[in-house]
Amino acid sequence: MFTKLKSLLYNNEVRAIVFQVLAVVVIAYFAYQAFDNMMLNIEQRGIRSGFGFLNDEAGFAVNDNFFLEYSPASTNLQAFYVGIVNTLIVAITGIFFASVIGLIIGIARLSSNYLVRKMATVYIEIFRNIPILLQILFWYSIALKVLPSARNSMSFMDSIFLNSRGLYLPKPIMGADFYFVLASLIIGIVAYVFIKKRSNKKHDETGINTNTIPHFLGLVLLLPIVVYLSFGAQLEYPVLKGFNFRGGIDLSIEFFSLAFSLSIYTATYIAEAIRSGVESVDVGQKEAAAALGLKNSRAMRLVILPQALRVAIPPIINQYLNLTKNSSLAAAVGYTELVTIFSGTVLNVVGQAIEIIMLTMLVYLTISLVISLILNIFNKKMQIKGG
């Protein structure tokens, strides 16, 4: 009997089960205690619970609002949606500019030109070693100092205005004719894809290259613009009313400071990813391309970059995720995205901390999951085949 017990005590599987049961019990105990205390605290402080608050009137105005219908009379749920849209807009803007700057700096860092190379290095070392929050606050304070007040706005052709509150652009009025513009854009893209495919086929069969850039410009850009202009091109212009501009598209200075800081900060990481990607390509590839008689630029475009990107893109996608998460620092300057609106203003009004923080986290978790899904698909596609 005793030896049997002893052998049980030293059995690895039994130990594992006992340990896990213990872990679950301990966690369940703490969770129960926390839940119990929470209910007690909520009751004592007279805080509501549940998600009923989402249907209450929000009662506050939002600075930046792009597509959605929103007014102080809207519900908290609508404010939540505005927050999500604004987070996505600043993230996408940041991702676009960070990629462009990062690509330029990353290639500049590999340049054979000493001055260009050193400048890229200095840029990277300066901006990646300063906390992003500090950069946001710095550029925001500079923008407020340098830009004029609304009455003395800088204006361009009396339709674009820039002042210390933001940038004001004319907005195309989306009437019935807007659908014609959209349709012409789609037709243009389809036609271009068709032409591109045919020219690729011709290249495969005969080796003759046709330049399709004019087709692209004509079909995808010019066609919709012509259609738009032929319908009279109605624009809503921003007009100075009282202390500020009304109408048109309004991009706040908070938005600019945030998008600008996120772009130049994340660009340093993207540049480093691109550099390490290019450096990961074997020297033999470059030499082989040269031996085939490819020019430097063609060798880069056709031989080096496709191989470098396989290494560089996963860290770059991770940086996109970081940028999206860092956009939550808008709270420091008051750009009205998810954290500012929801975990800031709504939380102060409603006081239901648990539900609100949980919903906020859920949005970011969803974004993270989607991005890591994209990353996984990419990695699968990029695996070297037949290895």
Binding site: N37, L115, L133, L134, I142, L329, I357, S368
Partner: protein
Amino acid sequence: MAIYSLKETKQPPQSQTKAVLWLKDNLFSSSSNIALTFVALYLIYLLLPPILNWTIFDANFDLTADNESCGREGACWSFINANLKMFIYGFYPQEELWRVNTMFGIIVALVAFGSFIKKSQYRAHYIIGSFLIYPVVAFVLLYGGLGLEIVETDKWGGLTLTIVVAAVGIVASFPLGILFALGRQSKMRIVRFISVVYIEFVRGVPLITILFMASVVLPLFFSAGMDFDKLLRALIGITLFQTAYIAEVVRGGLQAISKGQYEAADAAGLSFMQKTVLIILPQALKVSIPNIVGSFIALFKDTTLVLIIGLFDMLAIVGAATSNSSWLGRESEGYVFVAMVIWVILYSMSRYSKKLEVKFSTEHKN
């Protein structure tokens, strides 16, 4: 028979000597390269003069000047001088500053002594002992007790607070991170599940939401009598956050170890604890040291976020100092100063991590 006299060796042509050759190779090798050089020079011409003018040529270096007499064209560096104590110590009482200085002094002495006894057999004891005893000493010095006057944490601030938050985050998250990394690699399903959920959850959300959670949700989980210190809440948030990142770094190290090491340890009859502590972890940690330093650098950058939940780290001091009516409108000077201090710290840390990477790299170099 003709006799040839030795002719003098000619100097290489002017265009082949050092400086000119260098310029030719690096700046003017081709037409596109020349164009690039001029674009770069133009950029420097655009950017450098305004920066130099503001920071140096138009700046006022009179350290006794007040806000009015300083002028508005350039930087006013007397602002930094006047608020230097606040930037370093926050609102820590004037007559107790020696305590903060002593705390920093002890750590310098500890590190210096540590490098002095590099070859001693007691070095490991010394390091572990310091890690156990020093936090207690530092806490007593900063907070008070044992005859020292109590200084509440809302008086802490500036660089001191930045370093306290970063140091506590680093020290506390390290063992927790190792535990979660082991948990994620464990064969026990439930343990693995808990670890994976925790790590992926924390890595999927921004630090600021975790700080919000620690500062407004966490107090709800404890009975009403427990009064939670604001700094403590921030520290819990930072530690929870950093733990997940350390766990991932250490997991990378664990995965880099060959299976043979596990099997050899099992074959030698080592218990799970012996295997983990004596065989696996030393190798895994050694591999992941550069990445661990990298994640500490990220943590140091992230400590600035505590200003959003109302703590006065170095960055928040800029706001506090410029909201004082005698220094209105001097944010730029403050931000530039703080940026320079943090930059120096971060840059030296990242240099150090590069050095470690070379030192610990066991990969084949080609």
